[in-house]
């Protein structure tokens, strides 16, 4: 058993999964929107980062900020343009967000081609935590992901906006009666959802490459993490992200990487059957 490799790679991957899934947890927990286009933000964030860095000559930090900003706006646009009109019917929300994801894939494919793209690393070289050779970019991705996750969590816990978000999550009608604008909160939530997924795509893209169909795997992973962690639970999302990442890494090393993709799907199936509310399944208070 390659234990040090599993510990290191599972941990680094889990941090990015936590960031990727955070937005999905927020959008369902707060806005009650099961957004099947969530992975598209990941994909588009990766492409925006690649485009600004390699084609527009913008430096890596600024490219990251642009990716975050544009995916934030995209999240809001998705809500206003497609989700809000059909919000009262969950099935329509699923259909319209799935359609949006497919359209996004085709548009990106037309603009950049079918083959994946890979942006240069922000930081080159390798390090050897626990004697395991790891790219510094991967460590950076994990650190930034954790920092962003913490920042969003603090936003929800500490700020006035965060209190409003939690109020809407608890009871949208009561919050509305208290003067909290449900539309504004849902808008910000979807924007945050897009931004966090977009950042995950921009950070992980240089390591794995990003292609127009990357949204599907990202959506499946986010779905698995949020279902396992508990819909709307941020601590649950954090815990589940590492459970999923370690499961994948163990399967990849000990069985075969061909079965890695099955892990999140199996997690969804088992979680729904065995513990539908997830590990820490209450909406955060």
């Amino acid at each position: 058993m390659v234990l040090p490799e599993i510990l290191v790679f599972g941990g680094l991957l889990g941090a990015v999964y936590a960031l990727l899934s955070l937005g999905f947890s927020l959008s369902y927990g707060v806005a009650r929107i099961l957004n099947l286009a969530h992975g598209s933000f990941y994909m588009i964030g990766g492409y925006i980062y690649y485009a600004f860095l390699t084609m527009a000559g913008v430096d890596s930090v600024e490219s990251l900020l642009v990716a975050v900003a544009l995916t934030f706006l995209l999240g809001m646009a998705l809500y206003l343009g497609l989700v809000r009109p059909v919000r009262s019917t969950p099935v329509r929300v699923l259909l319209v967000t799935l359609s949006a994801a497919i359209v996004a894939q085709e548009v990106v494919s037309l603009a950049f081609g079918d083959r994946g793209v890979g942006a240069p690393f922000i930081i080159g070289g390798i390090s050897m935590p626990l004697g395991v050779v790891v790219e510094n970019q991967r460590i950076l991705a994990a650190i930034v992901s954790l920092a962003m996750f913490l920042a969003v969590w603090l936003l929800i816990r500490v700020t006035k906006l965060g209190r409003a978000v939690r109020a809407v999550a608890q009871d949208a009608e009561a919050a509305s009666l208290m003067g909290i604008n449900d539309t504004r909160i849902s808008l910000i939530t979807l924007g945050l959802s897009g931004a966090t997924a977009g950042l995950a795509g921009a950070l992980l893209g240089p390591l794995t490459g990003i292609s127009p169909d990357a949204w599907l795997n990202a959506t499946v992973v986010a779905f698995a993490v949020v279902i396992l962690g508990g819909l709307g639970s941020i601590p649950g999302t954090f815990l589940a992200a590492f459970l999923v990442s370690y499961s994948q890494v163990v399967v990849a090393f000990e069985v075969s990487s061909s079965y890695e993709i099955i892990v999140p799907l199996a997690v969804i199936a088992v979680a729904v059957l065995v513990r539908p509310k997830g590990l820490l399944g209450k909406v955060e208070e």
Partner: protein, 469 residues
């Protein structure tokens, strides 16, 4: 006071405005990309000694023969063109090169009078088969369109073996020749032998079939063991697709006989990864912990871009030497941000950057001139295929698909990749000597747009190792 309806209308208007802004930004960036994307350097340099140009076979029919025997110049509109169908993944480099290679041949032939007094014309349909998530049915639908809507009288194309296998099943229905220029699975030719009357329409022009690819690779490994006897530990790393499953057992049988040790820990004796994978940290870690010195890489898709980058970034002390289709493209260096350096790949002998004959030299010169890039094997194959068809039509005096088959079978033509003749399975006959058959070479990436031939011995330069080895 705002009503609910006017509030929603305002929200929708804001949403549309935001989408327009984002689309405009994306459009500007995309336009900037298209207009400023660096052109691939058109000239591949090679450090190999050219020994080829004076050794072109004169006993076989050369491509130039067709040009010189054309009857009359095609002068007028109103002459029914002959439709050459390109059935390929048209947004992928393999399909793009297929179409461009075919178009080059069509242009040359039309400039010299066409075939049977008629111009050739390219019609094309996109199978999207380079995308591993695209089902076979997409390719079949494209095939149906190219025959029934575009009225192709011959099909050239193919890239993914499972798609081409399915397309082969349709040939008894359409009864037109299909010249495969991308897929290598040996079973494609076996169908011809097993049921000739149904599948006689299928021909494999390039690459040589997977058995021949294995033969070439094994020959190279034998040579490598002779020049670098201390490098004996091999890790087989392959995409999980049919063509490699057929080839791996051949390698597993012969490599130990040459003095190599296969160090894969997997029970299959090879590490198969899903076609289209993007994360190779597991595989590279396994290579490192196995103590391998050589990675026998088998890849047909774009996943090798990420694989090679991961290999270089992690400084894995094993040199990749195998078959990597994506790495044949001149753009691979840029795609991998230079990580491709030291990767050693098998290519057709016409694709080393040093033409082996005058036909190859002309092909490379014209291809570079028209398309500002270098061709990969699908371009050579498509180029040769158009000439094969043109020769057959001219000799048969007809464009009827069934009538053409015996003439295609008798092809004895020199192309950029050597002598083209078909065996009973309608595969191009492979030979290490390009004057006797389709031949292969191994090249090593050394710099931007530069391969160095490292095999066969007649053209080989020393193989370089990465600085971390």
């Amino acid at each position: 006071m705002l009503t609910r309806r006017s509030g929603m209308a305002r929200s929708a208007a804001i949403a549309v405005l935001v989408v327009i802004v984002i689309a405009a930004v994306a459009g500007v960036v995309s336009y900037y990309y298209v207009s400023t994307a660096p052109a691939t350097t058109s000239t591949a340099t090679s450090t190999a000694t050219s020994t080829a140009t004076s050794t072109q076979t004169v006993t076989s029919t050369g491509i130039s023969t067709l040009i010189s025997t054309s009857v009359k110049t095609v002068t007028s509109t109103g002459v029914q063109p002959i439709n050459i169908g390109i059935l390929a993944p048209l947004t992928d480099v393999t399909g793009i090169d297929e179409k461009e290679g075919a178009q080059l041949a069509v242009t040359e032939i039309n400039d010299h009078g066409g075939v049977l007094g008629r111009p050739l014309q390219i019609v094309s349909e996109d199978t999207q088969e380079a995308d591993p998530t695209i089902p076979v049915s997409t390719g079949l639908a494209a095939m149906n369109r190219i025959v029934t809507v575009d009225h192709a009288q011959v099909i050239i194309g193919g890239e993914r073996s499972d798609v081409v296998l399915a397309e082969e099943q349709q040939l008894p229905k359409y009864k037109i020749p299909f010249l495969d220029t991308g897929a290598a699975d040996t079973s494609l030719g076996q169908q011809v032998i097993q049921n000739y009357s149904l599948y006689k329409y299928f021909f494999m022009v390039s690459p040589v079939n997977s058995t021949s690819l294995a033969t070439g690779l094994i020959s190279f490994y034998g040579y490598f063991h002779y020049v670098e006897p201390n490098y004996t530990k091999v890790y087989i790393l392959a995409e999980d697709i049919a063509v490699w499953h057929a080839l791996v057992p051949v390698l597993q049988y012969f490599l130990p006989q040459l003095g190599f040790t296969i160090v894969n820990p997997q029970s299959a004796g090879a590490d198969y990864f899903p076609y289209g994978s993007t994360d190779f940290t597991t595989q590279m870690t396994n290579v490192r912990t196995s103590g391998a010195q050589i990675i026998c890489l088998l890849a047909a898709g774009q996943d090798s871009v990420q694989l090679i980058q991961t290999w270089a970034n992690l400084q894995v002390p094993a040199i990749p030497m195998g078959i990597d289709v994506a790495a044949e493209s001149p753009s691979f260096w840029g795609q991998t941000n230079g990580a491709a350096k030291y990767e050693t790949i098998e290519v057709g002998i016409g694709d080393t950057g040093t033409p082996i004959n005058t036909i190859g030299a002309n092909f490379y010169a014209n291809y570079s001139k028209y398309y500002n890039t270098l061709p990969i094997y699908t371009a050579d194959g498509a180029y040769e295929s158009v000439y094969i068809i043109a020769h057959a039509m001219q000799a048969a005096g007809t464009t009827n698909g069934t009538a053409l088959i015996p003439y295609i079978e008798k092809t004895n033509m020199t192309g950029p990749d050597g002598l083209i003749r078909f065996d009973k399975s309608h595969n191009v006959i492979y030979n290490e000597d390009y004057t006797k058959g389709g031949a292969l070479s191994m090249v090593q990436w050394t710099a931007f747009n530069t391969y160095t031939p490292v095999w066969p011995p007649t053209v080989a330069k020393p193989i370089s190792l990465p600085p971390w080895m």
